[in-house]
């Protein structure tokens, strides 16, 4: 059973000095971060400038900050900004959630799916649809569903002396049960409703309002901050339970804390955009290939990369595709997958197993 959770992680480039800030030996993090920020700014500009009423980019960006013509400001701030901010925040939340889970479980396949969170979010949203509630309630329902999954996980999987393997199995079980429920509902609904359910479960950023963004987005930001504050604990946990215990860390509590943060981040992100599973799974890997082994710096980079990926996908879905109204989840998977696979194949060094 040990193979389940102790699995190999690909090596980043050799002689990486994690970003200690001192004597950084060819750390790629600053470079990648800079590139990411530049791309993000470009995407933000594109996002606020385009739409039903095309606006000159400079005007649009000014409008974002409240300067310039009132008409422009209105369009940008009321209609375009919420969607953009939602994509950024949700992308960051999903990526960091995925990164935390992968480190916690020492398994490159760990993602909120494994915890049943995405299944739960889908379940909540679809159940809300079945109950006939309006679109407004969906994010809340998704959040509720994700947390329900977490509760189920806790009830069935958590015992003192947590076994990671057990958690993974129970997480898969919860995911399976909840997605079976979703499948059931999709099959039993009349077609239009099934279509809406499908739309939601594939992920979409359409029609987000500021209320939703402030509440869910704000919580995501809080979660992100917590994740960074607790990063030292995660680094110590990486040393294994024995070493971590003797360094004075209560491993049980620390794992729980980080797990909760990861689940909350993923649930909130799913509340904003629906369960876009690919971001949580793939972005941490991409960041590792680009910038080396996990540190606080790469965690920040994951947040940035997740935001970039989701926002880019949303823009592609809105403006570049012939079919309109396509869920953003489709684009993220299609954009991200080849890139990840190429990175995976190009990585030439042999896959090491961590020293047991």
């Amino acid at each position: 059973m040990n193979d389940v959770v102790r699995s190999a992680k690909p090596l980043g480039s050799p002689t990486q000095d994690p970003a200690t800030g001192r004597k950084a030996e060819r750390s790629r993090i600053p470079l990648v971060a800079l590139a990411g920020l530049v791309v993000l700014c470009a995407l933000v500009t594109v996002s606020v400038a385009n739409g039903e009423i095309p606006l000159p980019p400079v005007e649009a960006v000014k409008g974002l900050f409240g300067a310039g013509e009132p008409g422009t400001v209105l369009v940008v701030q009321e209609f375009r900004a919420p969607r953009m901010v939602a994509a950024i925040v949700a992308g960051a939340g999903l990526a960091v959630g995925g990164a935390l889970l992968q480190r916690l479980f020492r398994n490159p396949l760990a993602s909120p799916d494994v915890m049943g969170v995405t299944g739960g979010a889908s379940f909540g949203a679809v159940a809300m649809l079945a109950a006939g509630a309006s679109q407004v309630m969906m994010p809340l329902a998704a959040l509720g569903g994700g947390l329900l999954a977490a509760v189920l996980l806790g009830v069935f999987g958590w015992r003192s002396g947590t076994s990671v393997t057990r958690l993974v199995l129970v997480g898969l079980a919860v995911q399976a049960g909840l997605s079976a429920a979703v499948s059931f509902m999709v099959v039993s609904f009349p077609t239009e409703l099934a279509g809406s359910a499908l739309q939601w479960t594939t992920g979409s950023v359409y029609g987000r309002t500021w209320t939703e963004v402030w509440s869910a987005g704000g919580a995501v930001v809080v979660g992100l901050v917590l994740a960074f504050v607790l990063h030292r604990r995660l680094a110590v946990l990486d040393l294994g339970d024995d070493s971590a215990g003797t360094l004075g860390l209560n491993t049980h509590t620390a794992r729980l804390q980080i797990l909760v943060i990861a689940i909350v981040l993923a649930s909130l992100a799913a509340a904003l955009t629906g369960p876009v599973a690919f971001v949580a799974l793939a972005v941490p890997h991409m960041v590792r290939f680009l910038a080396g082994p996990p540190t606080a710096g790469t965690l920040a980079l994951s947040a940035l990369a997740g935001a970039v990926l989701l926002l880019a996908s949303d823009l592609v879905a809105q403006y570049l595709l012939p079919v309109s109204g396509l869920p953003v989840g489709v684009v993220t998977a299609t954009l991200g997958a080849p890139w990840l696979l190429v990175l995976m194949i190009r990585q030439s060094s042999s896959v090491n197993r961590s020293v047991r």
């Binding site: 069935f156 057990r166 129970v170 049960g177």
Partner: protein, 336 residues
């Protein structure tokens, strides 16, 4: 190490195997008898022997016998595929779906429905098989490294492939309401509307897959000791993995082509056999899955027919519902 003399340890297990076959027979009988209308067992017997010809008998011979036979075949294929894939990846969480097989089949079928306006499961068979095989082979190609399959790459690549194909499938369904309507039932995995003719095209691949899987069992035992030890025992590790992978593809693609994507049977059957027979010996495990797989599938199917009588709940949904507590139970047994 398992007992090198096959006769002895198989003999010890014989009573359990007989019990398993008995349970399977009972399930099959129930499958013939139960459904939207319950047919008494005596009538079932008469229908099978050709003595009765009433509407009940027709239901039995016309609908339920094919359905039961299909369930037996698909269950066996999935069970064995699960055992083999867990053996070659040495990962008890592996299942035939992790290679992207189900997602590949789903995408191919939905595209076929969209482009060619197909409507019946019998028509989907070739597309499903092709899609499943293509996806699985692609996943295996991605995982090739130094002539061998890297299990981590396989799992990661398979999962990524699955996500992509699922999203494309959703796209097609969102683009065309008709496709959505047709496809969502097939995608849930079902044994309904599966006459025996649905089985014929995949029968060769099924049989080949089974034969190959059975032939691989001693090698799988050696593989469980670790690549180095297996190599030292004279097992050509990379070749066994490749052949095993092919067997899995043949079996799982055949199964999904016939019944649609079914979760958990492939994952659960080997675990069930391991727990009940207390063995990891593949020479016992694989034949055991030949019984456990159909048992699980038939049980799920019967349940699906009864739970919302007179209409029916797809077996794919039931199996996922059943699989969840099964996994949780498995989790409890994990020590540490």
């Amino acid at each position: 190490m398992p007992d090198p003399r096959p006769a002895a340890h198989v003999l010890r297990r014989v009573p359990l195997f007989v019990a398993g076959l008995g349970a399977l027979a009972v399930c099959a009988a129930l499958s013939l008898a139960l459904g939207a209308r319950s047919v008494p067992l005596s009538t079932v017997w008469e229908a099978l022997t050709g003595a009765a010809h009433g509407p009940d008998a027709l239901v039995v011979t016309g609908l339920r016998v094919p359905r039961t036979v299909v369930a037996l075949a698909v269950g066996a294929a999935l069970g064995v595929a699960g055992a083999v894939v867990q053996g070659i990846t040495r990962n008890p969480l592996a299942s035939p779906t992790t290679l992207g097989i189900n997602a590949g089949a789903g995408f191919a079928v939905v595209t076929a429905i969209y482009a060619l306006h197909l409507t019946r499961p019998v028509q989907y068979v070739w597309f499903a098989f092709a899609g499943a095989a293509a996806a699985a082979l692609f996943a295996q190609a991605l995982a090739r490294r130094a002539g061998d399959l890297d299990p981590v790459r396989l799992a990661l690549g398979g999962t990524v492939l699955q996500l992509v194909l699922l999203s494309w499938t959703s796209t097609v369904m969102l683009a065309s309401k008709r496709s959505l309507d047709e496809a969502r039932f097939w995608l849930a995995g079902s044994l309904a509307e599966r006459p025996l003719s649905v089985l014929y095209p995949v029968l060769p691949t099924l049989v080949i897959g089974l034969v190959v899987a059975l032939a691989l069992t001693p090698a799988l035992n050696a593989l469980a000791l670790g690549d180095d030890s297996a190599q030292a025992l004279g097992v050509p590790v990379s070749r066994i993995r490749t052949v095993g992978g092919l067997a899995v593809v043949l079996l799982a693609a055949s199964a999904v082509a016939v019944a649609g994507p079914l979760a958990f049977i492939g994952l659960a059957a080997p675990h069930l056999v391991r727990q009940l027979l207390r063995t990891s010996d593949h020479r016992v495990l694989v034949p055991g899955c030949l019984i456990a797989g159909p048992l699980l599938l038939l049980a799920a199917d019967i349940l699906g027919r009864l739970v919302i009588r007179p209409s029916e709940l797809q077996v794919g949904i039931i199996s996922a519902f059943l699989g969840a507590p099964l996994l949780a139970l498995l989790a409890r047994k994990v020590a540490r």
